[in-house]
């Protein structure tokens, strides 16, 4: 591998400069905290949920009070917006407008590969020690891409299905069960069309449950390898689609719409990446109290979402302080609280001091996951574009 | 056939604009109605033509050749009109303006009639021209020909020479009256200028809401 000193690399070196010396010292963190004081962090984060927005507003209050940091929530409809903005700013050699970004998967892989991220920094954050890296391996491997400290874990996600217990007595706990259900209840099942994130995940779950050699999924693949390995997946989809909503010729464009169609009674079930979302929706009155959730018995795809700092961030120090606070037991417990957000923690709760453990409430609630299962790591990132392209070609027109 | 009004009165809101008037115009006769502006001359013409609008209202009967016209819509009254402006349609050529009111029928025949009318108006060869390229006098002649080609059974003229230059006026008067008389139809003209009236015609005056012989 040859090393070429590009403008981007130079920029990354320049951005690192303030930290290189200090990183060796023990008092590194105190210095960063001192530097962070008075900085404004533009936190680019998806803002489709008032609960999440309120949580971020709470984080901003705490940071202002304790660290003198101003946290501005730049509300995104789609994380890609921020990724493109950082890339364009770096290309144009302009100061960054993004200091912290809520990210994972494809977006992270792209930013890391294009050297658009500051770091490694995650390992140096004091609270990183609390993260359950062995129990929750996705906190350091994001869609089969090692994080290498370029992003700090924030919350856990796992593909979860939900429906109304009054209309769906026994949930389909596997893709094969789902096919049977679709046959008996034609037109009442569907999934969002890839490349919608949730739709792609549904198809990935089919892939995981149908592929002959699961070991292939952890490795990079190419067009030929994919076509061969994904044949059972497409056989399954071909069998499933005629029984779906609108005979599988049209699909809802988003998970948000699918959720709404479930609430209206058009569909029998919907899916989510946040296992606590159904409970949340019951609490807010958007779904009836008879709602329950489940995960396929063989496990469902799970991952972690993170925060990362762009290479051209203007408030890099404060952004690290924010990332560190987001991993604190206090912030994680509040985030996991069903009344606040209900996002599962990345921490190893059992290792926390008892007082902090007590912060994490648990118990059975309406809309909760009645049939939990293990999380399965995401297939290697190279599978995703192939899945999306093949799906589009087959079912897109 | 004669054009006759029987006890025609026009009201404006609660007041009487024109007191009941009866009047008959023989075929070939041109009657001039004189009056100040605002006296209600044009309103009377609107009533005869059938497009009187609020706030005016009218009573009395309009007859053409004995048949009452009151319930006949304007387009079916067969009454031709000339206005202060020539009102040639700007999106149509001169020839198309002439065809506009001509009864439906075989195309070549209609074109022949149109060309003949143009020649009569001393405008042969102008058929493809857009109206705005014509002079005021030429346009006025086209307007008359257009009205006559629709085969009217009566004519109403509303200050038709008002916007023409003085020297054109006399010329235009002769042209208009000659053609209307040639059709042998009744004609009512309103004007505020006595000089507009034909030399030997009947002249009425509208004053204070009363129509009297002048």
């Amino acid at each position: 591998m040859t090393f070429s000193l590009t403008r981007r690399a130079l920029a990354s070196l320049a951005a690192l400069a303030p930290f290189i010396g200090a990183a060796r010292a023990e008092e590194d963190w105190a210095a960063i905290e001192a530097q962070a004081k008075g900085q404004t962090v533009y936190f680019n984060a998806w803002a489709g949920s008032p609960q999440i927005n309120a949580y971020i507003a709470w984080v901003a209050e705490v940071l202002k009070e304790r660290h003198g940091i101003t946290l501005e929530h730049v509300k995104l409809q789609d994380t890609g917006e921020a990724v493109r903005r950082v890339r364009d700013e770096v290309t144009a050699g302009k100061p960054g407008s993004v200091d912290l970004i809520w990210i994972n998967g494809e977006n992270f892989r792209v930013m890391k590969q294009e050297k658009l991220l500051f770091g490694p920094f995650a390992g140096r954050l004091p609270n990183f020690a609390l993260v359950d890296v062995s129990g929750k391996p996705t906190t350091i491997i994001d869609f089969a891409e090692p994080t290498d400290g370029f992003e700090a874990p924030w919350g856990m996600a796992q593909l979860t299905f939900f429906g109304d217990g009054q209309k769906l007595a026994t949930p389909p706990l596997s893709m094969m069960d789902l096919l049977q259900l679709a046959k008996t209840q034609p037109g009442r099942i569907t999934y969002p069309a890839p490349p919608d994130f949730h739709g792609t995940t549904f198809v990935k779950q089919v892939l995981v449950e149908t592929i002959r050699d699961k070991a292939l999924l952890d490795r990079p693949t190419d067009k030929a390898g994919f076509t061969d390995a994904a044949k059972p997946m497409f056989d399954y989809l071909d069998a499933l689609h005629p029984h779906l909503w609108r005979e599988g010729k049209q699909f809802p464009p988003s998970q948000a719409q699918q959720k709404q169609m479930l609430a209206d009674g058009e569909l029998l079930m919907a899916l989510t990446f946040n296992p606590n979302e159904p409970a949340n929706l019951v609490a807010s009155g958007e779904l009836p109290a008879t709602t329950f959730a489940w995960q396929n018995s063989g496990g469902t795809i799970g991952n972690t979402h993170f925060v990362a700092i762009p290479i051209n961030a203007q408030a890099g120090a404060a952004a690290q302080v924010v990332a560190n606070f987001l991993m604190s037991a206090e912030a994680q417990a509040r985030k996991a609280d069903l009344d606040i957000w209900g996002d599962p923690t990345v921490l190893d709760v059992k290792k926390l001091p008892p007082a902090e453990q007590a912060l994490f409430k648990s118990g059975d609630v309406p809309g909760g996951v009645r049939f939990p299962a293990d999380a399965i790591p995401e297939p290697h990132g190279s599978w995703v574009p192939l899945i999306e392209a093949a799906w589009l070609e087959r079912f897109g027109a | 056939m004669a054009l006759s009004l029987t006890d025609v009165s026009i009201r404006l809101g609660g007041g009487m604009l024109i007191h009941p008037v009866s009047l008959s115009i023989k075929p070939g006769e041109i009657v001039t109605l004189m009056g100040q502006s605002g006296a209600g001359k044009s309103t009377l013409l609107s009533f005869i033509a059938g497009d009187l609008e609020a706030p005016f209202s009218a009573s009395g009967t309009v007859r053409l050749g004995g048949a009452a016209l009151n319930d006949v819509p304007p387009e079916a009254r067969h009454i031709g009109r000339l206005f202060q402006d020539d009102l040639l349609f700007p999106h149509l050529t001169v020839g198309e303006n002439l065809l506009f009111g001509m009864a439906r029928g075989p195309g070549p025949e209609r074109l022949k009639m149109m060309q003949a009318a143009l020649a009569e108006a001393d405008l042969a060869g102008f058929s493809e021209r857009p109206p705005h390229t014509l002079s005021g006098g030429q346009r006025a002649r086209v307007a008359l020909m257009r009205a006559l080609l629709a085969n009217p059974r009566a004519m109403l003229l509303d200050e038709p020479f008002n916007k023409l230059d003085a020297d054109l006026r006399a010329q235009m008067r002769d042209f208009v009256f000659r053609h209307i008389r040639a059709r042998n139809i009744p004609c009512l003209m309103v004007t505020h200028d006595r000089g507009d009236a034909p030399d030997h015609g009947r002249i009425l005056r509208l004053k204070g809401g009363e129509v009297k012989d002048a």
């Binding site: 699909f251 948000a256 807010s284 958007e286 027109a397 | 387009e75 349609f89 009111g101 629709a150």
Partner: protein
Amino acid sequence: MARTLRRLTPLAGALPLVLLWALPLLLSLAITAASASDTQAWRALLAHPQLFPALFLSMFTGLAATLTALLLTLIILAGFQGTALWHRLQACAAAGLAVPHLAFAIGFGFLIMPSGLLARLASGDASPPAWITVQDPWGLSLTAALAVKEIPFLLTAAFAALFRGDAARLMDQHARAAASLGHGKGSIFLRIIMPQLLAQLRWPLVIVFVYGATVVDMALVLGPTQPPTFAVVAWHALNDVEPAANRMGLAATLLLTAILAMAILTVHGLLHASRDMQRRFLTAGPSALPAPRIGAGIIAVIISALLLLSIFLLLPLSAAPRWPWPGILPPLTGGTAWATLAASPAPLLLSLGLSLAVSAVSILIAVLWLETQPEARDRWLLWLALLSLAVPQLAVAGGQYRLFLDVGLGGKLAGLFLAHLSLALAYVMIVLSGPYRGFDGRYMKAARALHASPASALIRVKLPLLKAPLLTASAIGFAVSIVQYVPAQLIAAGRFATLPMEAVTLSSGGSRPLTAAYALALTLPPLAAFLLAGIVGRPRWR
């Protein structure tokens, strides 16, 4: 004041418009056009499996919506001309125009979807019927919504044409002359009014067509999904994180623009080729065809009902977390959506302030231009304004983003302001130039003869007499500005939370009460602006 105004050379009067509007606009378009040379992107685009079906859908929805809207508008005009309701129709059209496209699309969706109001009224089943309404594969729901929403726009444009200067009186006299030539009211409309009107509706129709064929937000709510319309394909590509996909999206935008231009030229050519047929129709001779009063009445009632129901339906839905089947209306159990909205009034205030400023500055710049420039110079300006509206907004915004990033306006309030001004000023110029240039100069001469200075004659005579068009133009500028989402997201880097930003980001979470509440919140300011312009703008002497 008088002296400053007199010293204001034509150059100085044109500068604000050229520097703040025309130049950035031209540069943005140039930047977008320059990206056409990426062969890789074109190859990717041509290989895209949805290319042809999506293009067909875009063309179909755009054309069908435009033709339907035009046909219905003409029937309404033909049926209502000369009736007592004519002037009321004008007010209704302005109100309909004020409803934002997206808010209407959302409400319209709630009306026609399989679990929507109409289905609840029609069906007694235990679960919603399998209607193929919203997101139907043929794009009919989208077409219908576009057509309904554009009718008020076409009506308003038609009224503007019919009432410009002397036009109304002249048209009335033409109608009388035509009636005396034996033509019924219907025939007069078809042969006299319509041909003259259509000539003036050319650009509004182009704008409607381009909007319909390139709209993204409405298509996401109501349009087909597999494949979606081409604009949605381009939008997804532009939003992808892969630069290669972005470039393909740009190529797609350019392709769409080119195909739209070709379609418009084709229509133009067809109209030209059929001139003899049109002539024969116009001069066929008298016809007693009556005005389509009943048809127009029915159409007007249906269109108004659809617009009103779609917006009013948002009200209960914004106050109810759930709308369980088969209840006609949802149980009103929560005002949380409105509480969320009320909890953060900053976006609303920012949007109101920004759009008021944009509208005021647009009027100022436009008046400055109109006062200092000879009328002949309006021509190229209006062309540019119409071009900027006729080019897909995705293409303009993309170039603008690059430009503003390079000159350091990205993420700045000034950049946001200029991006809003770009669209608002185009509309203001188009709406204002006609009445302003049509102003009877003798009033000014009379005022000057009474020893008024030019400035005071302008302020005390001309502007008050032009109050109605000035207020209408401000209302349109305001309404156009306040619903803009892309500039806040793209140009201002999301740093300034405007109301549409808040609405669009929150709606991505799919909460119906929040979506409904924000759609309503987006509808109210423009509606208020149009009402206010209508009330304040009413001439004192009428």
